[in-house]
């Protein structure tokens, strides 16, 4: 029995969803709705968030929400936005002015970096007034932890397993924010669930801008990354504090704001709390991959300017 003191009726993202305990993507979903408010149409492809928030005939969402296939959430959002513009032109009754509606996509990394990249590119190129948010848990989680082009070097997944010869993923993580920026976007940003206020501010800022926007948020997956559910936020903080996932804003292709660090932590601090990197500490040859990961953090620091003097 729900006690009256707990009010859930006003939530735009509701309890009772089936995401795993400690899921960073579920926390992202909550933060997205807090930042966008109710006048929002959210388009979501297949993935953990779609599956766990809308088991038929239930829905965790308190905003308008539409599920589409894996490939086309950006095209669907662009289509909805175009329809609203057309309703405005024809003074169609019963629809809000398109300027008062937030058109948003929330999609996983598999849907964004790989399978939906073509429709995302098209949406950005055509200049739709859509905010595309990718929750990045660095693999295809919903189908059982397969690697995506977002999976970082050294991470074990079911399709990049660590074994006798292998140290997990051996291809670099795709630089999706730069790909978005190369489309001429006015606003691109990265975030982490460890800094909710920062993320919400970025969403609010993006929504003020007319045209396509891209935000990518680091969202731990305790199931896929093999860590304790209570550590999700700590891990999302460490990835930033080590320089492995810099959080920044990029306006018109130039970095305009970076979260600076005083004493950048060694990458091991972030890696050792996750089972997906366990082999790097246990297997001979793992040091080389650790060194490579440290180099990535160092090069991020230099490129993006993370270190405080």
């Amino acid at each position: 029995m729900t006690e009256d003191k707990f009010k859930h009726e006003e939530d735009l993202f509701c309890s009772g969803h089936r995401a795993c305990p400690g899921c960073g993507a579920a926390l992202t979903s909550k933060l997205v709705t807090e930042a966008t408010g109710p006048q929002t149409i959210l388009s979501m492809p297949t993935g953990c968030m779609e599956v766990t928030t809308t088991p038929y005939p239930e829905s965790a969402w308190g905003i308008s929400w539409i599920h589409n296939i894996f490939e086309n959430s950006a095209a669907v959002a662009g289509g909805i936005e175009t329809a609203y513009r057309s309703f405005d032109k024809r003074n169609k009754e019963g629809y809000m002015n398109h300027e008062d509606v937030n058109f948003v996509v929330l999609a996983g990394d598999g849907a964004t970096f790989d399978i939906g990249i073509r429709s995302l590119s098209g949406m950005m190129e055509r200049g739709h007034d859509v905010l595309y948010i990718c929750y990045d848990n660095e693999a295809y989680m919903n189908t059982g932890i397969q690697r995506s082009s977002s999976t970082p070097i050294g991470a074990a997944t079911t399709t990049s397993p660590a074994g006798k010869e292998s140290f997990g993923e051996d291809v670099h993580k795709k630089d999706m924010p730069s790909i978005a920026a190369a489309h001429g976007l006015e606003y691109v940003a990265t975030a982490s669930v460890a800094y909710p206020e920062d993320f919400k501010k970025k969403v609010e800022k993006a929504l003020e801008i007319e045209g396509p926007k891209y935000i990518q948020i680091f969202a731990p997956c305790p199931r896929g990354w093999r860590h304790e559910s209570k550590n999700s936020i700590e891990i999302a903080r460490l990835v930033v504090e080590t320089g492995l996932y810099p959080i920044f804003e990029m306006e018109n292709g130039k970095i305009t704001n970076v979260k600076k660090l005083k004493d950048r932590k060694p990458v091991e601090e972030y890696l050792k709390v996750q089972g997906r990197f366990k082999h790097l500490f246990e297997k001979e040859g793992g040091e080389e991959v650790l060194e490579e990961l440290q180099k990535i953090a160092d090069s991020n620091a230099e490129k993006i300017g993370i270190d405080k003097e």
Binding site: A26, P57, S59, A60
Partner: protein
């Protein structure tokens, strides 16, 4: 006059469901550990509410943060993120 082809356009509906209906699903039954807030220690910073992925921490009318055990999955994030360690995780009885 040309006919407006959009006038009576019917968009076929897929499955349409009602908002906020996962509230029927009481995920509290998943829990193996439950968070307990010590209100003497709590400084009401709201971190527990901010980071809960399950919307299970709510501020009550008296301005106290409390946990709705009907939905709390026991992930332990609130206890971990409390700056004054006012939340402990206690094993659930079988």
């Amino acid at each position: 006059m040309t006919e407006d082809p959009y006038e009576d356009l019917k968009i076929s509906k897929g499955a349409v469901v009602k908002p906020r209906t996962t509230l029927v699903n009481k995920t509290g039954s998943w829990r193996s550990e439950k968070p307990i807030i010590d209100h003497e220690k709590c400084i009401a910073c709201g971190n527990c509410e901010k980071f809960c992925p399950d919307m299970a921490v709510k501020e009550t009318e008296e301005g106290k943060f409390e946990i709705d055990l009907e939905y709390c999955k026991g992930c332990g994030i609130c206890a971990e993120e409390c700056p004054v360690k006012a939340i402990i995780m206690e094993e659930e009885e079988k």
